[in-house]
């Protein structure tokens, strides 16, 4: 084993031991603890747990790399995956907390006095969570494969065992406190290399500032230099965008509305004590997320600059060890097109500019993982990044598995089919469902469906077009009735699902701006789906009877301020 692997293995084992220790210490004893951690999580801790829950393998491993290649257009992820928290804090979290049950389907079922509405919501929740969790297990496998040279499948299995341990035993309570630890690991692992590289390149210890500073030993700004390097090599200038305004607008909106509608994020706000605590923990959550999300674009700039500076015209025989290491995994490929033995990395405009043809392909996902090696940072930093990637993937996987088990045990078995189920049996049922979900997620992690790339768009689009409108209408209008809500949810979701399915699966060759409706790509179609949901609901509602009088009281109660000493319901038993 080389020193990097020893460091990696050491750090990974220490962090895993920590997670298991926390899980044993905080295991759940009742359904209230299993589903919503007894509703007694402090706001700061919940903020941290929400941040870890939210930031997945995609945020930690892929996002900075994607932005690195997309330039300014990458802002859609930065804004889209943070702006939703404003909606959560202002429009959703406090009211759902005031309602005081366990899940989103609980709210939908009560507010729309309908089992059909509840089951529709459960199906949406299950679908969104399952599509999302496959990617996480795969992320675990990839990190193991690259850093410890373990088979991807074996890596997935190790991840399954760990998640199984604390999700099945600890429930929401166990997950919450492991997520707090995982947030600390992942943010430390993300920040350390970013700070090191920022110091190396610009002399500033704050990456957010370094990104806009001058390069060390010159008076040229980093971003200007990067723009110039990019255009010289036939790429687009880094700080310029290509998306049409309407499409960009829709993508950002779909990601924001989707964030606000994702069940595994919403459920975190059920775990705090009061409406006030729900608002405060939304603030902490976004603050903790913003630390990573404002550093990521700086990492993208540093990584892109380092890549262009390092590899250009370098003889392949002299390529650094990280280059050859990643070549072995197939994530970097080099083909000596002009046979000069040197690496030429050029963009789409290469021919027009008289530059040699491109010979290099770099997988976007490796930018964060390879970054410490490219910048020649110490071995322990590389090990740390591996542990951070694992923490990000495991924390999100656990949160999703919990939503799946809650949906099955609480919303389906208990509320819909067997209302007389005892608390103890419901808990057992939740544990079995969690165990089953771990196995299914692991299977899909090892045998990923071929539409993985579209899965994220799917999850967000569906959350935006199903949950978001239904919850908003449930809180902010008293007139919205069962018929309108169910019709809206079904039309919005179906439209979004069919649009994505058509362009991604049925006719992928037509997946370009020319064929898209109004030039909106499948990533952004959730926004249109949401509008359809609202519209259909309003029309159907206008022609169907008003909701019963007690619904008006329910809405009044949700909107009313929480009084001093007023304890919110802990469970519905």
């Amino acid at each position: 084993m080389d020193p990097v692997q020893v460091w990696t293995l050491g750090i990974v084992i220490v962090t895993f031991a920590l997670y298991i220790g926390i899980a044993i210490w905080s295991r759940a004893a009742s359904t209230g603890e299993f589903f919503v951690a007894g509703k007694g999580v402090p706001a700061v801790a919940n903020g941290m747990a929400t941040a870890a829950d939210w930031m997945s393998a995609a945020s930690f491993i892929s996002m900075a790399g994607i932005i690195s290649f997309a330039g300014r257009d990458g802002a859609k992820y930065l804004m889209g995956w943070t702006g939703g928290y404003v909606l959560l804090a202002l429009l959703l979290a406090p009211y759902l907390r005031k309602h005081g049950k366990f899940t989103v389907p609980d709210f939908v079922g009560d507010r729309y006095y309908s089992g059909v509405a509840r089951v529709t919501a459960v199906v949406c929740a299950l679908f969104v969570s399952f599509t999302y969790v496959c990617g996480q297990m795969q992320g675990v496998g990839l990190v193991f494969a690259r850093f410890l040279e373990i088979d991807v499948d074996k890596g997935v299995m190790i991840g399954m065992v760990i998640v199984f341990f604390y999700a099945v035993m600890g429930g929401m309570k166990g997950i919450t406190y492991t997520q707090v630890a995982q947030y600390c690991v992942l943010i430390f692992a993300f920040m350390v290399p970013a700070i090191f590289i920022s110091l190396q390149l610009t002399g500033s210890p704050i990456p957010q500032v370094g990104m806009g500073s001058q390069l060390v030993g010159s008076d040229v700004y980093l971003l200007d230099k990067l723009d110039q390097l990019s255009t010289d090599l036939g790429f687009r200038a880094y700080t310029e965008g290509t998306h049409s305004k309407l499409n960009l607008f829709c993508i950002v909106a779909a990601l924001m509305l989707g964030t606000a509608g994702l069940p595994h994020v919403i459920v975190r706000f059920y775990t705090v004590k009061s409406m006030k605590a729900a608002r405060i923990s939304a603030f902490w959550a976004l603050l903790f997320i913003a630390i990573l999300y404002t550093t990521a674009p700086a990492v993208s700039v540093f990584a892109r600059y380092n890549l262009l500076e390092t590899v250009q015209d370098m003889p392949h025989a002299e390529a650094p060890s990280w280059f050859t290491n990643w070549e072995k995994t197939g994530l970097i490929t080099w083909q000596d097109v002009n046979g000069d033995g040197k690496i030429q990395y050029t963009g789409d405009d290469a021919e027009a500019k008289g530059l040699p043809a491109n010979e290099l392909n770099v997988n976007r996902d490796i930018m964060v993982l390879a970054n410490p090696e490219i910048a020649q940072l110490p071995n322990w930093v590389i090990g740390l990044v591996a542990a951070g990637g694992l923490a990000a993937a495991l924390s999100t996987a656990a949160g999703l598995l919990l939503v799946i088990s809650t949906s099955v045990a609480h919303d389906l078995v208990k509320t819909t089919f067997l209302p007389d189920l005892s608390d103890k049996k419901e808990l057992l049922c939740a544990r079995i469902a969690a165990a089953g979900a771990v196995v299914v997620a692991g299977y899909f992690g090892m045998n990923p469906p071929d539409y993985v790339a579209a899965v994220v768009a799917f999850a967000f689009g569906l959350a935006a077009s199903s949950f978001f409108p239904v919850i908003i209408m449930g809180i902010f209008t008293k007139r919205m009735n069962r018929e309108g809500a169910v019709a809206g949810m079904i039309c919005g979701t179906l439209f979004t699902a069919l649009y994505i399915l058509y362009f991604v699966k049925i006719a992928p060759e037509k997946n370009n701006a020319e064929h898209w409706w109004f030039g909106i790509s499948p990533d952004g179609i959730g926004t249109l789906g949401m509008l359809i949901n609202f519209l259909v609901a309003a029309v159907v509602c206008a022609f169907t009877p008003k909701p019963p009088a007690e619904i008006s009281d329910l809405v009044d109660n949700i909107r009313a301020p929480q009084m001093d000493g007023e304890e919110l319901e802990i469970s519905d038993h």
Partner: protein, 87 residues
């Protein structure tokens, strides 16, 4: 009877004040992200602050900072409203 009436009025005022604040804060939310980060990004890029073009900065940094501040303001405002309506 009169007490219940004044209380329910209070609740309505509370709700209206809440909606006004939500509307105002969401207007800012919309302006910094969809406005500065998407629609007017090219115009703003003409302005430079240090090494950043302003539109690029809003899209990749500024909007996120504003989001955090917006939630902080809302938390404080609602704590004030809660206190006021409890009397």
């Amino acid at each position: 009877m009169s007490e219940t009436k004044s209380k329910s009025l209070n609740k309505q005022e509370y709700w209206r004040a809440n909606l006004t604040w939500v509307g105002a804060l969401l207007a800012v939310w919309f302006l910094v992200s969809y406005g500065c980060g998407v629609l007017w990004v090219d115009q703003l890029d003409q302005i430079r602050i240090g090494g950043f073009r302003l539109g690029f900065w809003f899209a990749q940094q500024g909007s996120i900072y504003v989001f955090v501040v917006l939630i902080a303001v809302y938390v404080l405002v609602m704590q004030g409203l809660d206190r006021k309506f409890r009397g």
